[in-house]
């Protein structure tokens, strides 16, 4: 279970999160929707441990442990995974070497043995096939020259390999055409196992037709201002965010 309590966050003196409370239960897919600038991406970065932000108050509990005290890599090792809105290109790092490095780092942190090369290749190929990632993509430098859709599929591939406890998808639908959206969504849905928790951040309702959430939360001015079931997303699609931008002001 993930419990975020009274989270207050600033960056360069600007308050972005303003006493945010949110609980995501085991196996739950929680969607966060909200207008631009409401603090959605900040929330994802703060959970993942980006250092640019100053946490003034509150806590983030992952199965009871306050992860705010952990470094970003320790949070990842505890099972937090952030699928980036804009995955970074790393020239000179072959995708396969990168996947091996991150998988082994996590196995090592859990005190497990590193995978043999054949086992590693088998796991990557299995996961890659499901996401229609071909061998050629795996041979290239990480994300370099990848299309928007390819980058997002590569994020989901990493998620599938690392088997995190808590997945955050930050605007994973941005820049995707309908086919890529379907492939990525199927990749995410395949990881829903009744135990793993998801936080799906999106501006549009479209993604939620493919990844159907259990709960929908509306964020405005750095707080959750309304929560409901999946029908709330449809309501927002019809009415827009105008009400929320004024409501919290």
């Amino acid at each position: 279970m993930i419990e975020i309590k009274n989270l207050v966050v600033e960056i360069e003196g600007n308050r972005i999160l303003n006493g945010l409370d949110l609980t995501v239960n085991d196996g739950e897919v929680a969607a966060i929707m909200g207008p631009n600038g409401s603090g959605k991406s900040t929330l994802s970065y703060v959970i993942a441990g980006k250092e640019d932000y100053e946490v003034l108050d509150g806590e983030i509990l992952l199965d009871g442990q306050n992860i705010l005290e952990l470094e970003a890599n320790e949070r990842a090792q505890s099972g937090v995974f952030l699928a980036f809105q804009y995955p970074l290109e790393i020239p000179g790092v072959a995708t396969m070497s990168f996947l091996k490095a991150i998988l082994n780092a996590q196995l090592k942190a859990r005190g497990e043995a590193e995978l043999s090369t054949p086992d590693f290749l088998r796991r990557v190929r299995g996961a890659a096939d499901k996401l229609q990632i071909d061998q050629d993509m795996l041979k290239r430098a990480l994300n370099v020259g990848f299309s928007g859709g390819e980058k997002k599929r590569m994020e989901i591939l990493q998620m599938a390999l690392l088997e995190p406890r808590f997945c955050i998808l930050d605007e994973t639908d941005s820049g995707l055409d309908i086919d890529a959206l379907r492939i990525v969504s199927e990749g995410v849905n395949a990881l829903r196992d009744g135990k793993r928790s998801f936080l799906v951040i999106t501006h549009y309702q479209r993604l939620l037709n493919h990844i159907v959430p259990d709960t929908v939360h509306v964020m405005s001015k750095g707080r959750i201002v309304r929560s409901g079931g999946k029908e709330l997303a449809l309501e927002l699609e019809a009415s827009g965010y105008a009400d929320y931008e004024t409501e919290a002001a």
Binding site: F81, L88, G92, Q158
Partner: protein, 442 residues
């Protein structure tokens, strides 16, 4: 006032560096093997050093690397090692040991062994070529923009040994050549090795050059390439000299029409170095790729200086240099692309990128374009920065600890230039040396 002061100075004021070099030259002269023209060449070179003095920071091309200061303790040339020392040095040589190649071994700057040349290739000891006044000697100093360079003059004056490699027209050398230069000893010494590589029309050669040792040597090597039309050369150089070494090196290449030249240098040793590359396009539509990786720390100093001279139409040049600087080390990149009036349709791109991983690190980047033709594409870039925080966060968010994330990014940074080495064994060996050096930084 100033003219009065100047007139009281001696015509040529010699500093300790020049004084030592002139004295070393006098001691060396009686033992030299060369013919009359060879002697004249040496005398002319040392006369220029005596007359003009060594270049120092007041000379534009040497602003960041003061040769006069670096050579203040100029050592005497190394004597020929005895057979036992030579054998041990060869047996202990480690760099590129895994490469299947024809070895040409120099110990303390003296040619001590050369394997059997592959079919179509001849390997001629330079001492013999000098004695015989071999016609190939006419191919020396083919690149005009390199003439008068102080490192080349020093190499000419003190020339100790070398080889002439010749690949016959249309032949593909079956195995790579490996010039292995090993320095062994207690006290510092200087070496001056010269290699001339002539690759005739349509021929191809892969050649590696490695420098290693256990002594603070002062090697000065000059490797000159002459490529015939359509010839193809891949060259790598590895500086894995011992701590304290001062490595001076020059590569020149004269490119025939449609020829292809590739040279990648790795600085992973020594305390101070200057590596110079002079390229001249003698025939149309030639292509050259020149790259380098430098990993330095402590008080080290590494200079890469490049001059690319496009004199004829259609030439392509690609340069990529990567420098990682830790501690209080200093990196220097000077790159100049000249496009002469006739060199229309030239396509030149030069990039130097440096990562400063400590507050005391310094990088001097000086890219220059000198363009006289009007229909050309030339670009240059120079960057200097720290490790990207966003990339570090991305890797940490995947579970890599800070140190491992930084190491991966540094490897990637230098890897981009090492990827330009086409020979897989060489590329992997260079990568391993760079990684080891990155792991041992500070």
């Amino acid at each position: 006032m100033s003219t009065e002061a100047a007139s009281t100075l001696p015509a040529a004021r010699l500093f300790p560096a020049e004084e030592r070099l002139v004295e070393h030259f006098r001691n060396l002269k009686p033992d030299l093997p060369d013919d009359e023209s060879g002697r004249l060449r040496r005398d002319a070179a040392i006369a220029r050093i005596e007359r003009d003095g060594l270049p120092n920071r007041r000379v534009e091309e040497w602003k960041y690397t003061d040769l006069r200061t670096l050579l203040r303790e100029a050592a005497a040339p190394a004597p020929r090692p005895d057979a036992r020392v030579a054998e041990t040095a060869r047996a202990d040589a480690r760099v590129l040991a895994e490469l299947e190649a024809v070895r040409i071994d120099f110990v303390n700057g003296h040619l001590v062994a050369a394997g059997d040349a592959p079919a179509g290739v001849t390997i001629l000891p330079l001492a013999r070529a000098l004695e015989e006044s071999h016609p190939a000697l006419a191919d020396f100093d083919a690149v005009e923009v390199a003439r008068g360079n102080a490192l080349i003059d020093l190499n000419t004056a003190f020339l100790g040994d070398g080889v002439i490699v010749h690949v016959s027209a249309g032949r593909q050398a079956g195995a790579p050549l490996h010039l292995r230069l090993v320095n062994r000893g207690e006290a510092p010494f200087a070496t001056a090795v010269r290699v001339l590589v002539i690759v005739e029309k349509g021929a191809a050669l892969t050649i590696a050059e490695s420098h290693e040792g256990d002594v603070a040597a002062q090697p000065n090597t000059l490797v000159e390439f002459v490529l015939g039309d359509g010839a193809k050369v891949e060259h790598v150089r590895i500086n894995a000299e011992a701590a304290g070494a001062l490595a001076l090196s020059t590569v020149t290449a004269m490119l025939g029409a449609e020829s292809n030249f590739r040279s990648v240098n790795l600085v992973a040793g020594g305390s101070a170095s200057r590596h110079q590359v002079f390229l001249a396009y003698g025939g149309e539509n030639a292509h050259a790729t020149v790259a380098g990786v430098t990993v330095i720390s402590g008080e080290e100093h590494a200079d890469t200086t490049l001059v690319v001279d496009h004199a004829v139409p259609g030439g392509e040049s690609r340069e990529l240099f990567k420098t990682v600087i830790d501690g209080d080390a200093t990196g220097v990149f000077q790159g100049k692309i000249i496009v002469r009036q006739d060199a229309q349709k030239t396509d030149g791109r030069m990039m130097s990128a440096a990562l400063l991983v400590s507050p005391g690190a310094t990088m001097n980047n000086k890219p220059e374009l000198e363009i006289w033709a009007d229909d050309v594409q030339c670009a240059h870039g120079a960057t200097c920065g720290e490790l990207d925080e966003e990339l570090l966060f991305y890797l940490k968010a995947r579970g890599l600890p800070q140190a491992e994330a930084a190491a991966l990014l540094l490897q990637a940074f230098v890897g981009e230039a090492l990827e330009l080495v086409s020979d897989e064994t060489m590329r992997e060996a260079m990568n391993a040396l760079a990684v080891k050096r990155l792991e041992n930084r500070s």
